[in-house]
């Protein structure tokens, strides 16, 4: 199970992912991103889309990661529920697995406009696990 949660932000919503590795935390946060729109458990991972981004700053790499997914969700009109993420240095490569939006089955609540720099944090916690989070504009 992905370790993600939402946190409150006045008009918008925060997404937070945790994992044993940086890549796991990024993948968990991406499930949390989908959960803003629809229940990830209802999204079948039937096709994959390759995502690549690079940023020297880890926080901005996370910003780019979520915004790449938001771009794919909007332009392919898809939802994603499984993320195979690989991070090496300042480069992220991932396969996002999902399916086209089905209004009746997914009952999508809201479009996501973009991930923001607000409450943006990527860090290793004292227990050694990784955390990645930011506020998302909806």
């Amino acid at each position: 199970m992905s370790d993600w949660q939402h946190f409150a932000h006045g008009a918008d919503i925060g997404v937070r992912g945790r994992g044993a590795t940086l890549a796991e935390a990024f993948a968990a946060a991406a499930v949390g991103l989908t959960a803003i729109v629809a229940d990830p458990l209802r999204v079948s991972p039937v096709e994959s889309v390759r995502v690549e981004c690079a940023m020297a700053d880890l926080g901005l790499l996370f910003y780019e990661w979520l915004n790449s997914l938001i771009f794919l969700m909007a332009t392919r009109r898809m939802l994603f529920s499984r993320f195979d993420v690989r991070i090496a240095g300042d480069t992220l490569e991932a396969d996002a697995w999902g399916e086209p939006v089905d209004i009746a089955r997914h009952a999508p609540a809201v479009e996501v406009k973009g991930a923001t720099l607000t409450e943006l944090a990527v860090r290793q916690e004292p227990d050694g696990r990784w955390l990645a989070q930011c506020v998302v504009d909806v």
């Binding site: 901005l60 999508p108 479009e111």
Partner: protein
């Protein structure tokens, strides 16, 4: 919000004097209960905005202010380009040129009641709304450039609406100095299927009736008559604007150190107006403003078609169209001097007073209409820019009710179907493809809009003209 350290200048005006790196004061317009209800983050974000280079006057918060990203939502700040002023992508927001257009139907409430169910069904069919919805229009690259350059004028030339509409749209429907070349391929791609769509979240198309007239003279001048019906469309520049916000927020965060700008928080990322990045953003943002104006023009046309199928005599003349997420160059008098300023309004509506040259001639003696959206199922308001408003927050007013509760909390408290049923019992028909979306937008998740507009009036930001009550609400 903790009120310690705030000086109450008048009933609805509170001042935080500059401390530390703040260059100007922070000023909040609200009564005490509204202010106490605001998140402390509003205060923190406003004080952060007050530290930015070239800021003029003060950093202002409107009565509906809430925690945003970088700037508070309901925030206003003006910058002088000649004094190192900056432009901020976060100070405009992701939903560039989100705004409200109101249309006068000329129909009485009873006429709509007689066809209310059918009209709700027809509007829900005709207006693309919600996640994954697409418009009818597909633009070639050159048509996209034309749309991004000419805005609602382009839409009218394509057969969406009438030339007469343009007089009642901010900047006559077309924002000058747009640079389609500064709009990324990703932003264009995101817009390919989204022309003429409403979006989701708090965006809506609402059929409303004039339930109360607060200022008879101005209401008559605006064409608002008690018991008559108007349509209000609340949406913005869709995926194109969202992607421009995303692109430039990142670029400004990356380049801020090279400009020597010390930011209290990276979310305030900005660029000097006189920089390549600043100019590029302004050009792209203006293109997005044109996209929003074109989008509302297309939705106006679709709405007219629906009305005419039901009510042949419906006119749907434009009352006004004004955005509330923008940065515009305006002239304002500051300490006796006329200065050209880049005014950021994020979740704040321009509110020029009577006689201002930018207000259409037919409305000029009354002041600019200020269109305030309430929450789904509650009232909306038409206000008018107040005389003397230019001395208050650079002629700005609130933009809506403002959320008082997170989306998560709203879905815990309310169920979409139940809300739709309850509102139908009160004569308000909600049409949405998403019941969870309806729950997230529950009226109870917003501040009472009456308190917000009352505070705006008492603060001298704008005058109340009319209260609009919903009859049909199409949501994403």
């Amino acid at each position: 919000m903790d009120l310690q350290g705030l000086r109450r200048e008048s009933e609805c005006c509170w001042v935080i004097e500059p401390t530390g790196t703040m260059r100007v004061p922070a000023i909040l317009y609200a009564d005490e209960p509204l202010l106490r209800g605001m998140d402390d983050k509003v205060r923190q974000q406003l004080c952060n905005v007050a530290t930015l280079p070239g800021i003029v006057g003060a950093a202002y918060a409107m009565p509906d202010a809430h925690w945003g990203y970088g700037f508070p939502i309901g925030g206003v700040a003006a910058f002088d380009a000649e004094r190192g002023g900056v432009v901020s992508a976060g100070g405009v927001g992701f939903d560039i040129s989100c705004g409200v257009r109101s249309l006068l139907t000329g129909c009485r409430r009873e006429e709509i009641v007689a066809v209310q169910q059918e009209l709700a069904h027809e509007l829900a069919r005709a207006i693309p709304a919600g996640v994954g919805s697409t418009g009818q229009l597909r633009l070639s690259s050159s048509e996209m450039d034309e749309m991004l350059t000419r805005g609602a004028r382009w839409a009218v030339a394509r057969g969406y609406g009438d030339v007469a509409d343009l007089d009642r749209v901010e900047e006559h429907g077309s924002i000058a100095h747009a640079k389609p070349g500064s709009v990324s391929p990703r932003a264009r791609e995101r817009q390919r299927h989204e022309m003429g769509t409403l979006g989701s979240g708090n965006h809506y198309l609402e059929v409303q009736w004039v339930a109360a007239v607060h200022d008879a003279r101005i209401a008559a001048g605006y064409g608002l008559r008690q018991g008559e019906v108007v349509v209000s469309i609340h949406c913005g520049s869709r995926g194109l604007g969202h992607q421009i916000g995303t692109d430039y927020l990142r670029d400004m965060a990356l380049q801020a150190p090279s400009f020597g700008i010390l930011l209290p928080d990276r979310e305030l990322a900005c660029a000097p107006i006189h920089s390549e990045l600043g100019q590029s953003y302004l050009g792209a943002m203006r293109a997005a403003m044109n996209c929003a104006l074109a989008n509302r023009q297309i939705l106006t046309h679709l709405c007219r078609e629906s009305f005419r199928r039901m009510l042949a005599r419906a006119e749907l003349r434009v009352l006004y169209d004004v955005s509330h997420n923008i940065c515009k160059v305006e002239e304002h008098v500051v300490q006796g001097q006329l200065r050209s300023l880049h005014v950021h309004r994020k979740g704040a509506t321009r509110a020029f007073g009577p006689g201002h040259a930018a207000v259409p001639e037919s409305l000029r003696e009354f002041g600019q209409p200020v269109l305030i959206g309430g929450s789904m199922g509650t009232a909306s308001y038409v206000l008018a820019g107040a005389a003397g408003g230019e001395m208050v927050a650079f002629s700005s007013a609130c933009h809506g009710a403002g959320r008082s509760m997170s989306r998560h909390e709203a879905t815990r408290r309310w169920h979409g179907r139940q809300l739709v049923h309850e509102l139908a019992g009160r004569g308000v028909l909600i049409r949405s493809p998403s019941m969870r979306g309806v729950a997230e937008e529950a009226p109870g998740a917003y501040k009472p809009v009456e308190e917000v507009v009352d505070a705006a009036e008492r603060a001298g930001l704008a005058r109340k003209v009319a209260r609009l009550e919903p009859m049909i609400c199409v949501k994403g």
